[in-house]
Amino acid sequence: MKKLFFLLFFLSLTVSQAQDYFPTDKGVKTTENSTFAFTNATIYVTPTKVVKKGTLLIKDGKVVSVGKSIKIPKGTKITDLKGKTIYPSFIDIYSDFGLAKPKRTRSNSRTTQYASNREGYYWNDHIRPETNPIENFKFDTKKAKSLIDAGFGVVNTHLNDGIIRGNGLLIALNPNSSNAYRILDTKSAQYLSFSKSAKSRQAYPSSRMGAMALLRQVYNDADWYAKGNMKNKDLSLEALNSNKNLLQIFETGNVLDAIRADKVGDEFGVQYTIVGSGEEFERINDIKSTNANFIIPINFSNAYDVSDPLLAQHISLRDMRKWNQEPSNLSVLSKNGVNFALTTHKLKSLKSFHKNLQKAIKYGFDKEKALAALTTIPADIIGNNSIGNLNTGSYANFIITSGPIFDAKTTIHENWVQGDKNVINDMTIRDINGSYMLYVNNKNYDLTITGKGAKQTGTIKVGDEKIKSKFSFKNDWISITLNEATGFTRMLGKTINASNVMQGDAFDTEGNKTSWSASIQVKKSDKKEKSKKEKTKDKEVTILPVSYPNIGFGNFTQPKTETILIKNVTVWTSEDDGILKNTDVLLKDGKIEKIGKGLKFRNATEVNGTGKHLTAGIVDEHSHIAASAINEGAQNSSAEVTIEDVVDPNDINIYRNISGGTTSAQILHGSANPIGGRSAIIKLKWGENAEEMIYNNSPKFIKFALGENVKQSRYSNGVRFPQTRMGVEQMFTDYFTRAQEYEVLKKSGKPFRKDAEMETLVEIMNKERFISCHSYVQSEINMLMKVAEKFGFNINTFTHILEGYKVADKMVEHGVGGSTFSDWWAYKYEVNDAIPFNAAIMHNVGVTVAINSDDREMSRRLNQEAAKIVKYGNISELEAWKMVTINPAKLLHIDNRVGSIKVGKDADVVLWSHHPMSIYAKVEKTIIEGKVFFDRDEDLKKRTAIKQEKSKLINMMLKEKMGGGKTQTPVKRKDRNFQCDTSEELKN
């Protein structure tokens, strides 16, 4: 059957195009007549311009005219398309058609590669704007066929490899032609992504934030190069500059990355066209505010097979919801006015393209918009008005269908590309579908014919009993063989023109010739029932609401700023006032409005605090939750990266942390390198987006690190400088010396190459950015203070600082704070002398001490860790409590906003059931900026809702399975645990 198809495919060659100025030696030079007219068709010139019973006239691969009364020149080949519809062929502007992705370079070496493979190009191998894909382009006939079958006429392809990937090719899917005609544009766009090139093992960037920083540096360097300031040749930067005015297409894998890519683009005045993920509905407002054009894939997941309850219980609500909600993505995008084209990218099989699109339409996506997203919009985005429409002069790229293109019953008959015909389902093959009464051998049989075109098949029954038989329908001949107990019956015949009757000769098992006939039966009652069923099926689409974030415990409506009066509560002020008993606190407009006794305020929500305790929200100086990446460890300095780029508002740990009273946290870069990345200081406003979570006018911080991690002590073969504490000192000195020189040059007014790392270090020296340094042993702690002093600045915070107690006097002298664990030790060599009395000694000597987590579990019970300081070292409860509230706020320079209960500060407070440092204390409410983000009773309701929603989804999935839908094996989400030394592997 397949073979037959291929044959048909090649038979459909109509015009073999050769360049007309090429010599010929195969005979006399001839030219075929290539004028065609298609009459009586419904013609979609564009999605909005439809001509009924119109004529399309094409010549030499282009549209000559289209309309109702078209004059057809003599000698034109005329095809009557009565009842058929013509659409412009589709366009996929995100494709890797004909460009095989390079294989990943293998290496037996386990040593990290820091240097680049290339010379004369950019220092980073993953920046490849010079890639010119035409050199490797190979027209893929097989892939072309499947695209043509799905209705596509043009693809915009590129080499899917690297962070900057070079330019794209706009290709007409014309298998009958040659590249000379197929290539419509060799510089159709420039492509980018957050994925590294497979061609190099160069380690940098190892994280999402590294990729973002690299892109920024490339843009700066390209500018520097363009101005003629670089002494060397850099073919990458040259190419980037020459591609500058092209369309810039950026591939992303999820909503957060789409927002991140847009952010980088905006900083450099580049508006990317973003290849989305299909999950845009989860944060549609953020997607909308990018103002970007999108290219959206439609690869929907199958329902989970939930028939095994033990397996089914492991599937997360987030994954289950996805199956239910993602078909509504296109509808949501469209209703929110996002301009987007569709792509087949990521589809496992092109055959599912139409099925998925039909599903999206069922889920509310407008058909006209669907057509536009496949024709005019991609053409607009790519800036080519001769494709995606059938206006005069446009390419004769069009499909002929049996009916409305997005109906499940519709057949695509032909797909013409550049005026060349490709037959998909031969429209000359009659549709003989139906239920027939077959009469042969003096017997009646039921014959049911289904299928499309040449694939139509028939089944034969007598009553309910199926009869063994063979059926074929070829070249308008029907052939049926019956295999019964009485013997074989062979039949051959044809349909009687324009009637529903077929008849012909039959031969019985003895070879006696008789005749047979079949006539169609219309069962009216059946039809009605069926359509009724279909109608109710359509109505059954239930799209579950999206929560923020779109996972279990997400908020369906975001909490609003309330006026709250907490009455008669024990207030832990974390200020000089200490503890105030039987006191009222009024929260208004997101601030602490009043503290006192007998307070009243109209319309305030009153909370009875009798027997309860109210504290400021806990501040965690050292956390790694709510981030998509923690370490950019592929270089010894990563001052150019920032965690602010990769804040992940979808992390369940945010919710778990507020359930333990933590309201603010510094999300620190890891400790993979001496100069780490910049921090994000966030409020744990569950449900809000990354930008909203990051502090406004956030104080600027950066992570530094010392000791075993930065010298790669646990690497079997570390080769990165430094490998000793001695080297660490010199590395810092080197960087700050260079930063000094950089600043001198910058201030001199002479041209300078903008360097994100140097800019950051200059900020540090100018006391605009503060260091939080991961540190363990006293020698290196002292060393860093000395380095800082030499360059005229102070270290702000030593974090971990487990031997701080040994040099507390020196710390006080230097003016550095200490943020430590309560009792961690013994996990590596450098923590042998770590003692739980560390905080107490440092505090007693006069260091500002905070207790931090560095652990997403501990960060939800820092109140208990503070209590340990009472035990170890006999620190007063008041002072111990400050170590998780006002002290870390001071260390983070946010003590003017949070960290204590003081009039005018942010209304970030926690209501506890008991004394907050008692082991028996539980959080009742966590309020941030006057919004209740956690409430024990609401939490119980959420648990019930999760259970109900899951059962609902399980029933829906079971129904899907019973209805014959495809399913997938249940999966369990893997927990991701980021700590200081976690490194993420950026995908190749």
Binding site: G660, D809, W825, Y829, I835, Y920, D939, K972, R973
Partner: protein, 431 residues
Amino acid sequence: MKKIIYSLLCFFLVGTTIAQQTPANKQTEDYSIEGATAHLGNGQIIENSLIMFSEGKIVFAGNANARIARRGTVINAKGKHVYPGFIAANSSLGLVEIDAVKASVDEDEIGINNPHIRSIIAYNSESKIIESMRPNGVLMAQITPRGGTISGTSSIVQLDAWNWEDASIKTDDAIHINWPGSFTSGRWWLGEDPALKPDTKYADKIEKIKSYFTNAKNYLASTNDKKHLPYEATKGLFNGNQKLFIHVNGQREITDAITIAKELGIHNLVIVHGNEADKVSDLLIKNKVPVILDRPHRNPNNEDDAYDYTYTIAKVLTDKGVLVSLGMEGQMERMNTRNLPFYAGTFAAHGLDKEVALQLLTSNTAKILGIDNLVGTLEVGKDATLFISEGDALDMRTNILTNAFIQGRKISLESHQTKLFKRYSNKYKTK
């Protein structure tokens, strides 16, 4: 590089020996602790109590109003609290000193089935980590090997001893098996989705365990010319002298583990970890299988779990009638073993009665480990392994020990850490 670490390590180990607290001598002098609130460890409290012990054993545990002669040194503990020594089940104290220094790691032998591997002989009674347990009331521990399918054989020790032999309370108490999970993660390095999928090899793995024990059983039932050490080591499981601790999570896995062990004729079972044990509580009760839970200070397993799932599980199981205790395994398990009392405290915060929570570290653990004839409660005849705390020992703020005794021996509450505390506190005082 390695050399440097090694020599540093040697230096450090020498330092350890010097820093180690000297084990206390055998009890010769009697003690009477008077006036404290006694938490007996069996759920009961005696306010204003009198606890007396002699020659290592408790000789009186009752009310201080009792007209009875006080013996030996009288400790006035009015306003304080006295507790039986806490027991850490499923711990690996003394098997590893520093997690990241391989030379100090002795917890995981190669091989899949190692019933013959015995933790007791590697137990370093002079570990600096061990001495840091005692100031928090953790005075005994089950020392358990890790890794493999059958990790090996554990023993139970007290935490004040010259060497492993002296430390032992019960040698070779149980064999530990890590039951396979029914999910496996995709091999991301081969481009697979890293999410967890049902493990198609789960049934095979179970079958292998079954056949291993069947072979062992057959071996033990026959006469053999050649000794098979691992099979020999499983003898106690079949004659009831040893318990089988099954380290297992998940409803399906727990059910399979119990069913199969019973089929194999192994009846003395303990479930360790026991995520989802609440879903199979009937099976546990029917077969009298107790559960050693992990510390509650960990994140729930699934994104959709209640944030307090790990805090409330002890109450859920206890209410259903399952015998529950608390164990230590996982990240930084050794140094964190000293936080055992606070784990019980967290269970108490989330619904468990305080005295019942205490049982998770005392009588319940003793019962599960099979040492309840010796320790676990403040009752006459039991070892005088107990301590006095300024306040509630399950609460960080008030877990402040004034005295601790192991088998009646008054032990030091100092450690490497308290020494450094004093040394550096003095540095700043004299300055």
